[in-house]
Symmetry: D3
């Protein structure tokens, strides 16, 4: 199995509801360093997993819908705890939609799996992995 990973980041504000979150119930924020891995069993005709230019572009575009925002004010996340693990799934699902509609090029139809890691600090990160 082959994979290719690209990295970008976003900077957001949010708050959590539930006693388990302690002081994180207050409005605060995070930088998420985002790593997206694309998996496929065989390389394409150019010896690539995916067009890295298109992959980086689409990742930046997906993140731009959340970047420099207060997620508490985003209708998509109303009433939702936007935890690191949940946001990893949001990024993965939105990229999966774009792969399906061809935004990463026709070669991307050979992709089988996607893993998205959001690093929230030097001591904590979360990953969501799904099939395509």
């Amino acid at each position: 199995m082959y994979s290719l990973t690209v990295r970008d980041h976003m900077m957001i504000a949010h708050s959590f509801r539930g006693e388990v979150f302690g002081p994180a119930q207050r409005l605060h924020g995070a930088t998420y360093v985002v790593d997206v891995s694309f998996f496929r069993p065989q390389l394409d005709a150019d010896n690539l997993v995916v067009d890295i230019g298109l992959a980086s572009e689409q990742l930046k575009d997906v993140l731009s819908a959340m970047n420099y925002r207060n997620l508490d004010d985003e209708p998509d996340f109303a009433g939702t705890n936007t935890s690191t693990e949940m946001l990893a799934a949001v990024v993965a699902d939105r990229l999966a939609d774009r792969i399906r509609t061809g935004a990463l090029g026709p070669g991307a139809s050979g992709l089988e799996r996607l893993a998205v890691t959001l690093r929230e600090s030097h001591v904590a990160w979360a990953t969501y992995e799904r099939n395509l």
Copy 2:
């Protein structure tokens, strides 16, 4: 599949028995930067993999039984080569016990798998992964 990872570290002394270890047969030591990943297929009601506060606390507690010690003098490791890979399994198994007894909270019953990585330097690390 979702995962959440937390990082901590421990500083230990030990020696190895067997010619394969070369100069590491002498008493020496290591800093192990320890990454523990918790896996589950669905998030809990708070949108979490695990209570990160409890997970970090329990990890620190597991490490404290080895931290600032000479492992050659620990009864648990008598006659054992405390290699990086073996210590990764020790940390994983001890955390698995705590998950079973509820120390990471009731939500942790949804966890399926655990992976523990011990980084011994910038050029070598070992991982042990197990089901719960």
Copy 3:
């Protein structure tokens, strides 16, 4: 010259005023991984730059006044752009006050200089360095 550095982090929300900030004028947030370096020309009687336990504790305490908060609501920062470089100076100045009042132990009187780095992502960070 000797230095010792300790690392911690904080997660804050804030917004900026001024066109130069572009989309960062919206309420957003950041994880700051914070490195504090303490400098002195000679080590103390224990061969240390500073008591690393006290230094880490005081750093955590200084950060806790900002951690998990919206800096736009903090009276200390009213009408101020809480840029990464400005916050580095805030952390340094508050630690300098604590050194002066003895919170890092009597040995800390030998410290000459302080440098604080705030890493806001994998591609940007800021440092403020000052004498004591």
Copy 4:
């Protein structure tokens, strides 16, 4: 499952053929920081995944056949796009051959899987994983 990872690097020149590569069609180069992970379900009699000395030595030897070279001039890669993902497979396959012929010691016969990651920058890397 246990794994042990060792890190080394190589510095190569190459060019790509195909419009998808844009400016990378020109002769350029890369530092690949190479991480090789060896997997096995049980440790050997010394509590090891693999003899780390032999593993590091064989990795260095495999890389030396490409290190400080222009891959466009290597007969092995004639007419081939030496992408990061493709080179990860080359390193993995060459190490697998050496494991089979005993170069990593008799204990290495217990290895089941191999994963090779080539990091080409702080924002992009590729992995190839295969059974043994």
Copy 5:
């Protein structure tokens, strides 16, 4: 003293002349992860060291003149060993020219010093630091 650092990278081919370079006399290549630090004693009216958007843009533009190229073919470097340390100075000097001509904005006139680090691998890097 304040500083702000931004990171980017370039991927080049080159060769060296002189026995001291050993196998690096052959045509090979490198990824340089490039960190540029801008220094000034006081922040500007926006509480900034420099407009980070302009700084990143100008850095990318300076690197693009070398990125994806064989430096042996560049007239600017004819007969020159393009060592990591020498290239750090090239990047610094070219950025200094742009600061002087206003490409980083009028606020950049308050900058006093520049440091450029080129990381060629996980075990080697070089820095050039100069006044403005």
Copy 6:
């Protein structure tokens, strides 16, 4: 000013004397990832700060006198707290001696300064910087 940095590591056991060290008074150990920076105002005739091959070799040799040892048993350190900051100075001073006696080549006579950083974990490190 130019600098070149090379990285290596050592793994040692030791204990400390003095209440300030708390649990570190017990025999324990550390991996020190060691970064050595060589400084000079002008490059040599090959456009280098120092012969990186010789520098890496001499660093490895200096570390080998401590690597895989219990520093409490080394006559050089009898009655001494081998703190991270103190060991940084030991490495720097021993390298300075070798520079003086020509072990890093005749070009190394142009070096002016040396900085040695020992990283003991992902959250703590120490540096010693001295003139040559």
